[in-house]
């Protein structure tokens, strides 16, 4: 899986927000607010390029004090959200 071209993470009035700016993402038409964990995962997913829920969960465990099981559940929920709004492929 990867983040679709044209979607960027920006700080908007102190919050972390995903917006569609690139060609092909211009008609996204909304702002998606991320919490701290989701924003951290987005950045990680960008760095990885090609990512999986497992790889992100592993990275999350390395950064935050969270069990492998919990991390995987959290990542899966966040990635499902991204799939729902169609910002990953």
């Amino acid at each position: 899986m990867r983040i679709k071209n044209g979607f960027v993470l920006r700080e908007v009035c102190g919050e972390q927000v995903i917006m569609g700016e690139g060609v092909g993402a211009l008609d996204f038409g909304k702002l998606l607010c991320l919490n701290e964990t989701a924003a951290w995962l987005w950045q990680k997913a960008c760095d990885m390029g090609d990512f999986t829920v497992e790889k992100l969960a592993e990275a999350l465990c390395g950064e935050y004090d969270v069990s492998a099981e919990q991390a995987k559940a959290d990542v899966a929920a966040i990635v499902a959200e991204w799939q729902k709004v169609n910002v990953v492929e």
Binding site: G6, V12, C13, E15, G22, G24, L31, C33
Partner: protein, 302 residues
Amino acid sequence: MSLSVQETRYYKVADHVFSLKANAGLSDDFFEKNADNYAPFSVSACDCLFSMEVVTDAKAPVFVEETRQDEEGQRIVCGITQHGESLFEFYLFDKYVGTLVCSKDYRTSKLFVPSAENTSHLKFAVNNALMVLYAIATAPFDTALFHAAVVNYQDRGYMFLGKSGTGKSTHARLWLKYNEGSTLLNDDNPVVRFYKNADGKGFAKVFGSPWSGKTPCYKNEECMLGGFVLLAQAPFNEISRLRGVQAYAAILPCISGKRWERSIADGLHNTENALAANVPVWYLKCLPDEAAAKLCLKTVAE
């Protein structure tokens, strides 16, 4: 009669200077016929942020399309030439009216127009090309070209935002009619600039421009920006304040620019963030009536 020599004129809009050059081959009254809306902004020759040369009897370069915008019969096809220059092709109700080709830094550009072009098409091409250039070239300088109507009330500008057909101009008219002392600053494309104070806070000014939609209101005037009002049609009148991300989201769709080029998007984002944090943003659900204009004034200009 054709221009025997090329002529260049300079204009200053919201303190940004640009030049417009008419190539040989265009009629000698090119500026009078096609650029009268720029006359109030005329300045003498000086350094400018960008320049545009209008060229006739020449073919625009081939290009690869990146994206296109289509709104109310006005179409802009955006692309890249084989030399990496940005290109914008303009259509009015499916009629091709011209092609803008920009240098990579958007400082110099050429607008190719068909020869023997009729005045309304030529004007349309010149205005749209200059608006595209202005929006892009000023983006790094805390400046934004808006799609909005703006009225001046007691030396403060109030900008009415909303999708096409929401009634921005209508609401502005209601202010002029019922809120005594208000005047129209611009009906379609005002310019906003943000200025930082030493303490990190700041303020914004709104400026008239040579672009004002169907209303010939080309005022070279400015005032402090008092607030943004996002309009929505409703069977009642109700106004509330928007803050943070909601305020940003109200402003964002009203600003022109080539957001798919990262450095331009960065500039616009900085301006939008600063405006959302420093200028009040309101959401007005309203009828097109006197009570709406009065409620709005009472709330935003208190």
